[in-house]
Symmetry: C2
Subunit: 410 residues, 2 copies
């Protein structure tokens, strides 16, 4: 992508009401645009980051046999009335709207009800199970306050996966597989070493659920960790009763701020029972389907990655999520010619700052703000010595290579 | 994809209130699921069709220098008040909702206002222009009636492209480029020979806009064509005044039913003026940006393709949009073994009916209903003669090949 052709620019200032680091930096670097508090647009580079996150998730879920769908955003109240979740007293973050033909609709805050109801058309017998169905879709939550940038949106992107099994054993097996898939996802996103699985409360049917919590100063959650981080509890279940179950004592734990990037939940019959999702078992008896649900906050992850890695100069993207691998900066006449040659080798790898009449200093500080992993400087001065300079954004480590050496590495 | 592993099944019946052919067949074949009138879910095969359509659009728009974004669905009334389009008397298909923090929000029926406003942060000088920005995003329209399947949704997927230029000449140039890109898109989607560019009314600033109309019995529009289809007018502008401009007479035209799959519109200052999108020209004067907008109905296209090609047995997908190229049917013990071998060669090409205990007749009628371009039958009977049978779904033309011959063609 050529800087001279894209509409985005780096901006000196983020909107005045933007107080979160992720919101400020992503806006200034041209990745997102704020429509209203908690409501953002994704600009070309931001969309590429989101797509990279989605690809990694799709890849890992594909490996454990999940299939992708896309469910509607507009919601039929009938389904949600059956589970008691249409009532604003039960779920207080609904956006509701009126259908001109009569009646109300909701904007999906999550999708358990429609996916459960949909499967009634397809699940008849034990032979139809197990099933693992997910989507990467927008969600809407009518938050009273939204001031954490893309960490907590009124409109945001989520991956929601649902499992449907005939037995509790199969539910447990798949739950374990998702735990591994999630670890792989967070590893590939570059936040694996700071992301921990914490016990959380389980609701009606299960004692515990699990949250995947990334330790970060801006996290809204408090998570309690033991010494080697091998055991973690969210605040809600951090009490003597729970701890005694694990043979632990409160004093062995310390609190850290963390941001929930995923959660997994054994729903069992919570939705399949009120929505009547049943199957015929091997003994020809009707049985209720066991369900699990498994979420990942896709747009939130983008924000968490910013919060974890950014420094005082700007964004720093892990290579797997970066919009491009290289930020190619051309300076001077020969620099431009050489940079064109490099860019043409593989346009998909480069964000190419081919802007004329923008000074060296501005190009380099833009590159630092935008956070692409490697800055490739191709300048008259360096070329006079036969070299180009590659700077790793994260460490500021510099390498001098000939163009041919660099191209050979692509 | 293995039939035995996906949750979808072919269904005997579509919902009772589904009357459109596209809605009935897509539901019966397991591509979509109806939540409410005009509100559909996309199931694994349906999502693949949608993704194929999106890829073709992205590819053609990339060639003419467009860049992709994703704008929020929730809309800030302020922007729409500036253009007069917040008022339900002006735009009568709004879904509106209340923000719990106070105030109203809308669900985007289109995105001219936010994209124009967004660009105010990025367009300052003539050097920043021209710009071509698009997204493929959901739209919401609060239709009083919705009974055409996915041809007219209350929630639907659209590609909306906006051009921003300094001069009218550049607007006209880009408009012509989009006309060519659209022709390429409709050609690649398999509906090129039935899709025509028709004159339509132009609004305040332009005499005419253009609609891309696919001739089909179920079309809601009436389009008037001359003898060789080289000239077409939509009903709205088919009058003596317009015709005299083109030196034509009404009697030389015949009416056909058609479905609008795209439209292009020279907006000029319609939105940039009220939203104050200006740039500094070469003479250091403030000037209003020329805009154009260019839509394609993505989910509607899927419906139009169904309506155009389906026959009494079911769907027929053109190869470029089909979820898979081959529908692989295994019959008998040796058939299964041989089919596995073929499937493993390239899983991405095959929808593989590996279901046990489903009879030959049912497998073949499911294949016909699902409409994948080639049915590859691998049965004990045929293998005894050393052959497998490839049937072209559209023509029912059959070819016998050895497995090796077929694999060599993949």
């Amino acid at each position: 992508m050529r800087f001279s052709k894209t509409f985005i620019k780096t901006l000196r200032n983020a909107p005045k009401d933007e107080t979160a680091k992720n919101g400020i930096l992503l806006t200034r670097a041209g990745y997102i645009y704020k429509e209203l508090a908690g409501i953002y647009d994704y600009l070309p580079l931001g969309l590429r980051v989101i797509e990279n996150i989605k690809s990694i998730i799709r890849d890992e879920l594909g490996k454990i046999g999940c299939e992708e769908v896309s469910l509607s955003l507009l919601q039929n109240p009938e389904l949600w009335e059956k589970t008691g979740r249409w009532d604003d007293k039960e779920v207080d973050i609904w956006f509701k709207t009126k259908l001109s033909a009569g009646g109300e609709l909701g904007l999906a805050p999550t999708h358990e009800e429609p996916i459960t109801s949909l499967l009634k058309s397809y699940v008849k017998s034990y032979k139809d199970l197990p099933l693992y169905v997910y989507q990467i879709q927008n969600k809407f939550r009518n938050e009273l306050r939204a001031k954490s940038g893309i960490l907590r949106g009124r409109e945001f992107l989520m991956k929601d996966l649902y499992s449907f099994t005939a037995t509790e054993e199969e539910l447990n097996d798949f739950y374990s597989k998702v735990e591994i898939a999630y670890k792989n996802i967070f590893d590939r996103l570059g936040i694996g070493s700071d992301t921990f699985e914490a016990f959380a409360s389980g609701g009606i049917f299960s004692k515990y659920s699990h949250e995947f919590q990334t330790v970060t100063e801006v996290g809204e959650d408090t998570v309690w960790f033991n010494k080697d981080n091998s055991l973690a509890f969210n605040d809600e279940v951090f009490n003597d009763e729970v701890l005694s179950e694990f043979n632990c004592k409160k004093e062995d734990f310390t609190a850290k701020k963390a941001c929930e990037v995923g959660n997994i939940f054994k729903l069992k019959f919570k939705y399949s029972e009120p929505l009547d999702l049943k199957f015929m078992n091997q003994e020809n008896q009707n049985q209720t389907v066991y369900m699990g649900c498994y979420g990942i906050g896709v747009s939130r992850l983008m924000g968490v990655i910013v919060e974890k890695f950014a420094d005082e100069k700007g964004l720093i993207w892990p290579e797997n999520v970066a919009p491009f691998k290289y930020h190619l900066v051309a300076i001077g006449e020969n620099g431009e010619k050489e940079a064109e040659k490099i860019y043409e080798k593989n346009e998909n790898l480069f964000f190419y700052d081919d802007r004329k009449s923008v000074r060296f200093g501005e190009k380099m500080s833009d590159a630092e703000l935008m956070g692409i992993p490697y800055v490739v400087l191709v300048s008259d001065r360096l070329l006079a010595e036969g070299k180009i300079e590659i700077t790793k954004r994260e460490t500021n480590e510099k390498t001098l290579l000939t163009t041919d050496e660099f191209i050979a590495k692509l």
